[in-house]
Symmetry: C2
Subunit: 467 residues, 2 copies
């Protein structure tokens, strides 16, 4: 072979190899962009013109757009011009299907509301069809508004699970158990047995759904029964959620019945050594907050519900300053009356400034974190969701900045808390699956969902008229 | 003529006249419908399947759809299937053009915010172009969200007036006057002189715009100067607006300087005998509320701003129970950070329940009235707007009930307060002019408005970076 030919072959070889060497790109399933990307990792701030690469439902990289584009080739892309990309919201406490009861009774005393409206209506109407219709309606609203993870505490969790699988939302499903009769159950024994079976047997191939124990509260479940749940939860390595220290009337009952507060009562039962999701937590005192700070308990703040039922002001800033992971929740729509996490974020940022007289409390970045990273930690999913870092699942949302009500923009976090709302969310992704694109929910049919809700509402409306 | 022919002619005459006799319809310019119509008159409740007829910019009739259709023929109709028809919202206190400052500085002490951000930025940037761009952006957002009347307190009111005329919103334009240097003025003398000239000379052919005196506050305007304004306002029969008893720091200054509270101080000046629009009114005591109840003062509650700046909780329920007309406002977007009256309605309904521990306080119907009928009374426009009754001007809005987040519907008023938001407003009408239809603002170009805002924001952003 003449030298020239060898030389030419070598050159060709180099020439053909070069692009592959320089451009060798890793495969990704999807790249999602944002003019502003908030990973919501502590201190990470705002990344301008960034991107997140996703593979097999997980985040594999986050960085500047040019860098991600150079490193990855993706089967699909969601562009981010005039958009914010951030983690999906974590609704740490809700009763999803209760959305069918939104507005049946408002502006009344808690006891009147519960005993004359909620309990009778639940007894009459909550069945499998109700749960199907209610959970779907709730999911539509939550996906539309950028919620990607929910902690749900409501009846027939095995039915709700079917809806969550269908619509793609991430959920911890709490099986309710209570000492009193409730839909489908005559009291503690059967509600605990059914809940126990559900938690033990529940399997979700996607890994997005987790079954949990949901004893209602320390004032509605006896200490012996709470112990029973705690043992079972420990036994099955299952999470637990409960209403804790929600209202003055709960605190009165606890004082009368046990001579103790709710937090001290459950501490005595060993429940603070368990990663309990503690909804509301309005009335812990200073010492109890110190106890919570050393526990695995994740309090969930529900500001709208706390105001609407006049439960009181949770000492959120004091808990956060102790390093307690306080999440945010909407509660059920019967006491809200919607499932809009942006309203909770905004209210959390506003309320405690007003209450304390200190306008620096719970700044925008903290309120946002409560609905994302800190919220995920509070519900025990800190490794799974709540921030955009490699190896966490790809739960993320985009918000549009294009509407005049979002102009001008000086501070992204401030805008997200004090200006943005559900209407601005345009993309919702859970586990790498696009549940909403360009403001349109893809996994649920809005017309069908509304129609199914109306069927249920028709019956409820009749009963209300007779009430 | 044979009898038969006479008989036949008579029959024909009757036959031809009959439709005209039975169907003789009055002319209307427009009929607007709603599956649910809220006139917001006291005790009127919800009219199902109703309609409002409009002529020459005024309401001429309200009633059941069939009745209005029988009585009136209209050149145009806006249908009401799955819609609520109600009065447009009254934003009783705002600084419209400040929307260009939304988010420049949040979560900080009031004094830091004012002295290091708002005042320097106002000094640097507020000029006629700023007002044009800011007022237009503010109007887009307010019209989009169903606000039809605003009480505006900001610089260059003659420039803002041009924008309000163009976009069709109803406004009371307060000319700001203050003892300190402010945009365009070196202190009291020139700010008062310019404001006085503006109020004296302002003419609006449409009658929708009213010029007013706007002394900033009792702690920023000397008693002598307040007297001067009061005399001038009496002289010119012009309205007056002022910040009153807003914050603990105002109350401290008043106590130190005058040994008195803000309300007692202005009472001593005779200002309670004047129909003063009193923004905020967070700190009246029991006696002062009794004094307000016998005055013509209209307090305006700004719940978001009061929380965000940690001003405190206004005793709204106590004022309302004394028969005081308390309106609602957004304040400027610099301390909100938007101009969304639905958030104020919702927060007014929630906040005072939480603060008092009484969940029956400020029920949905009251919160709605504060933003409509009572709000109009508070600002002295009770004869003009705020409810749907014949002879009032045709200021009204439609909200869509079609989105799944509005389903199911049991109680319209509850839905409007606890669920609805700006995104649900589809029609805005002021003085019979349709400013928004099917969710699209017709009198302002969204792209142009945003672009003009960005020009201003670019300069502000640079200054913030240097700050």
């Amino acid at each position: 072979m003449p030298l020239f030919t060898v030389f030419r072959s070598a050159l060709l070889l180099i020439a053909f190899s070069l692009p592959n060497l320089v451009m060798a790109k890793e495969k990704a399933d999807m790249i999602v962009y944002g003019d502003y990307v908030l990973s919501m990792e502590e201190g990470a701030g705002v990344l301008k013109d960034g991107a997140v690469a996703v593979r097999d439902g997980a985040i594999i990289a986050i960085g500047p757009r040019a860098e991600i584009n150079t490193q990855y080739k993706a089967a699909s892309r969601i562009f981010g011009k005039n958009r914010v990309l951030m983690p999906g919201l974590v609704n740490g406490h809700t009763h999803a299907a209760m959305v069918l009861f939104r507005g049946i009774a408002d502006d009344m005393a808690l006891i009147d509301w519960l005993q004359n409206y909620i309990f009778p209506m639940e007894g009459k109407f909550v069945d499998e069809d109700f749960i199907r219709a209610g959970a779907a309606l709730a999911c539509w609203e939550m996906i539309r508004g950028g919620t990607t993870t929910i902690v749900d505490m409501y009846f027939y969790p095995q039915i709700a699970a079917q809806i969550y699988q269908q619509c793609g939302i991430r959920a911890i499903l709490g099986a309710p158990m209570i000492d009193y009769p409730s839909p489908g159950f005559s009291g503690w024994d059967d509600s605990f047995a059914a809940g126990h079976d559900f938690v033990r047997d529940f399997k979700d191939p996607t890994g997005k759904l987790v079954a949990a124990f949901a004893p209602h509260g320390a004032y509605t479940v006896s200490p012996e029964h709470l112990k029973e749940v705690l043992d079972a939860a420990n036994d099955l390595h299952a999470p637990m959620m409960m209403h804790v220290a929600e209202s003055p009337s709960e605190m009165e009952v606890m004082e009368e019945r046990y001579g103790n507060s709710s937090v001290r009562h459950i501490a005595g039962l060993g429940m603070l050594d368990f990663p309990l999701i503690a909804a509301h937590m309005v009335w812990p005192d200073e010492d109890e907050m110190d106890m919570l700070a050393m526990s695995d308990v994740g309090p969930i703040h529900n500001p709208t519900s706390n105001m609407k039922t006049a439960a009181g002001f949770s000492p959120v800033a004091q808990m956060l300053s102790r390093g307690i992971n306080v999440g945010l929740g909407t509660d059920g729509a019967a006491s809200n009356n919607d499932l809009d996490m942006w309203e909770e974020i905004r209210l959390a940022a506003l309320l405690h400034k007003g209450k304390s007289g200190d306008p620096t409390l719970i700044p925008a970045s903290t309120a946002l974190a409560m609905a994302t990273r800190i919220g995920a930690l509070a519900i025990g999913l800190g490794d799974v969701t709540g921030s955009l870092v490699p190896d966490k699942r790809a739960d993320m949302i985009q918000l549009s900045l294009s509407s005049p009500h979002m102009a001008p923009l000086y501070d992204v976090e401030s805008h997200l808390v004090y200006v943005a709302g559900s209407r601005d969310v345009v993309t919702s992704i859970v586990d790498g699956q696009v549940l909403m694109r360009d403001g349109k929910v893809r996994t649920l049919n809005a017309a069908q969902v509304t129609k199914d809700a109306q069927v249920q509402a028709g019956k409820i409306r009749e009963a209300l008229a007779e009430n």
